[in-house]
């Protein structure tokens, strides 16, 4: 019997398309990196590589350990103890998620500059060596502090879930066996949370690795700014080799995290109810407040307060038209990216449901991988594609549209996972038998999808799209490199003004970004309370 129409054969390429788009920039970079190296590369290896790698390694280790030291105890306090203000801290400790590192950095640049009298004092009293050392270390301290105090919520979040739910049974058992709070924390809570800590820490490490704004504001030279520098000096091949190295580092973190998760051979006994929190005495309350405020002050309260004050003081000098234009650009990019990414994720996730197949699971995994690709690699790969398009004869006039296309493309690659993740998880909770029931009742795959599956994951899709909006809204690294000439978003504007030491002016777009991101935290916290 002839089959005039095979929807599966038509749909498969469409479903694979987003995955291929995600792979394209990596493919370009990998291909270029495999070409024989030139003289430039050996120069880079000789003069710069060790510095870049070393700086990246030091920064990642420092930021990640500090974020763990801040996040784990804070999560423990709000999950296991009862003290006045606990409920406020429980969500307030998520606030730094709305404060991009390069915005928080605005509030510390002048502090770093204010250290000059201290350097002078050191030089006078402890000699030139101490002076050089202090001057060398100070920016590291600031960059580490800013990054760790804005990124620790990743650790906080993953641990809180373990302490409050998964480990509750074991924690109560420890108590019944006579263990006090400290012993319970050290010998039961932390070991049980190890996989969660690893998951949070690997996110922190990846964000640190991708950071451009904070490190360049404080004048450090790790991999990401290094790649852009070599790229802008006109050595794409070398930049791409470095980008591949960064990619290898990312895979290392992902691998470490997987390994850590895999080592846990058995899930903890399910707890029947959430952990009963221990009432704190006066000393306990002081400790809890200290532990909660320690990351919250530098990560949100101090920068928020300082920027609000600067914005207020310079209120009549605010450049409204410049800020509004930038805000318009930011909204445009964020909304466009959210729409595109949601569409792509929708095609992949629903395609997998309708046409069950192993290859489609692979496509979905690739889509998720995009989040782990270093920003620098994505930027360099797409930059190459865009510039080769723009220099193609007959297309030269399209340079501007090509570069805004490139920017969207980059957001798509990096943030596709942000929607796929909740959408796929959402579909997982919608039993496949619902879809199958619709099919046995005579519905074609598409109709079953549209009428049964998609309405049930609408909330997850909206959440994912909102998160993409926020992520793009405060994105700096990709935007800075790929944006069309003279095209400014709130993020690039904040960064530029900070770099020009126009701190009060930088506060306005910075604050605006924080406010919009805060609104994005609402669906995020709702998603999390679903998981409870």
């Amino acid at each position: 019997m002839p089959r005039p129409f095979n929807s599966r054969r038509l749909a498969l390429p469409l479903i694979w398309l987003p995955a291929l788009l995600v792979l394209l920039p990596v493919g370009v970079v990998a291909w270029r990196a495999l070409q024989p190296a030139g003289e430039i590369w050996s120069q880079v290896v000789e003069t710069r590589l060790a510095g870049y790698l070393g700086h990246s390694a030091i920064l990642i280790v420092a930021v990640t350990s500090l974020a763990v030291l801040l996040g784990v105890p804070a999560a423990w306090q709000v999950s296991a103890h009862d003290f006045p203000g606990r409920r406020i801290f429980e969500w307030a400790l998520l606030l730094p998620l709305a404060m991009p590192g390069f915005v928080a950095a605005v509030a510390y640049v002048d502090v770093l500059e204010g250290l000059i009298p201290f350097y002078v004092w050191v030089r006078k009293n402890h000699g030139i060596d101490a002076f050089l050392l202090v001057q060398e270390i100070a920016p590291w301290v600031f960059a580490t502090g800013v990054l760790a105090s804005t990124l620790f919520p990743y650790v906080f979040l993953s641990c809180r879930a373990v302490f409050a739910r998964e480990a509750a049974g074991s924690l109560e058992a420890a108590r019944m066996l006579g263990a006090g709070p400290f012993r319970t924390f050290i010998s039961i809570a932390v070991p049980m949370a190890r996989p969660a800590i690893a998951a949070g820490a690997s996110l922190v490490a990846m964000e640190t690795m991708n950071d451009y704004g904070v490190v360049s504001t404080f004048g450090l030279n790790p991999m990401t700014p290094g790649i852009f520098r070599i790229w802008s000096e006109g050595h794409p091949g070398s930049a791409m080799r470095l980008a591949m190295m960064l990619m290898a580092m990312t895979l290392l973190f992902v691998g470490l995290e997987r390994w850590q998760r895999g080592r846990r051979k058995f899930a903890p006994d399910p707890a029947e109810r959430p952990l009963v929190r221990r009432k704190c005495g006066p000393a306990g309350i002081v400790l809890a407040w200290f532990v909660c405020l320690l990351p919250l002050l530098p990560g949100f309260l101090i920068p928020g307060w300082r920027m609000a004050r600067w914005a207020w003081q310079s209120f009549d000098r605010i450049d409204w038209s410049g800020n509004l234009t930038a805000a318009g650009h930011s909204v445009l990019l964020a909304a466009g990216a959210a729409g595109l990414v949601t569409l792509g994720a929708l095609v992949m996730v629903s395609g997998r449901r309708a046409f069950d197949g192993r290859s489609l699971l692979l496509a979905q995994r690739i889509g998720l991988l995009g989040y782990a690709f270093p920003s620098a690699l994505v930027a360099v790969g797409i930059g190459t594609i865009v510039s080769s398009l723009a220099t193609t004869p007959g297309l030269a006039g399209l340079a501007l549209s090509a570069s805004s296309f490139g920017l969207m493309f980059a957001y798509f690659v990096r943030f596709l996972a942000v929607v796929i993740q909740p959408a796929a998880a959402g579909l997982e909770t919608v039993s496949a038998s619902l879809h199958q029931a619709a099919r046995t009742l005579g519905a074609k795959p598409l109709r079953a999808l549209v009428e049964i599956d998609l309405p049930l994951i609408r909330a997850a899709l909206v959440c994912g799209a909102t998160l993409v909006f926020i992520d793009v809204f405060k994105e700096l690294t990709l935007t800075l490199v790929l944006r069309p000439f003279d095209f400014e978003t709130l993020a690039t504007r904040t960064y530029r003004l900070t770099g020009e030491s126009r701190i009060p002016e930088a506060s306005v777009p910075g604050l605006f970004m924080v406010l919009v991101s805060l609104m994005g935290l609402i669906p995020l916290t709702r998603l999390l309370s679903f998981k409870k």
Partner: protein, 353 residues
Amino acid sequence: MIRLHVQNLTKRYRRGDQPAVKDVSFELPEGKLLSLVGESGSGKSTLLRLIAGLETPDSGAITLDGTVISSPSAVTPPEQRGIGLVFQHHALFPHLTVEKNIAFGLRHLPRGERAGVIAPLLELVGLAKFGGRYPHELSGGERQRIALARALAPNPRVLLLDEPFSSLDARLRQSVRDETRAILKERGATALFVTHDTGDALSIADRIVVLKGGIVQQEGAPPEVYHAPANAYVASFFGTCNFLPVNSLPHPSGARILCHVGPPRPEEAAGFGVWVRPEDLELVRSDKPDTLTGVIAKVSFRGAYLEVTLRCQTPGSAPFEVSVRHHAPFMVHPGEIWAIAPRPRRSAANAGS
């Protein structure tokens, strides 16, 4: 000697809610095994957590060896009570070996003496060679026994067990609960366990406290609770129980009638009757006019006996069903008409309304 004394305990989770536990009192003598039994939502787990010190009562008090450990104003923290708890899902520390799990509660002992406590305990629960294993390497029954050993190790003054057998399958369950009782008795432990399974409670407890809606329905030894239930709820909770309207009984001259609830008046007849367990009734051939008869509606094979359901109707009563536990020799079939008589010897009945 009374080890644990619970007095007028009330606990409400949220203001305005029905109390989860309401005015509950009972005593647990030293060396005894007491069971708190009830359906889910009966407040038994809340009661257990109150005794463990994981929850604070709204009113009432808990006294351990004469010292108040819980009252609305002061709650001794769980880690200072000397009360052990075996969790429903065992809550073994997944990252510690069996030995280290048991050693966790032995911090008060010098390191050298701990092994001297652990080895006999492992021996006692029959897992002497399992000290180096991790919890995930144990079967369900083994995990249960390790959880028991871990809770017993610090020699708690009272041991609490939260649904200790619920995660075991039916075959394992019987043997594990008999073992558990043997272990507890061997150690002379004073223990309290909550369960929703009446079989657990009847077969291993010394005393039973029946809870419903947070209120104590009855307290007594297992045979007492089974054969002399305090009310209709307790009667039906511990197994099928027939409610026979009073005027359906055989003539009150016979010695078979154990409880006669006043002269039946037509307007009240439906509300008065006796509770009789199926095993206390038998099917007989009888053509006496005052015998209760019924048509067999259903016969279910239960292995050792047949569960026979009859539909009966007597003048002045609505139709009702009677369940009878019938043993061979003769076979019965649906549709047949049989007379129902109390089985000779013991029988328990009670007025219900």
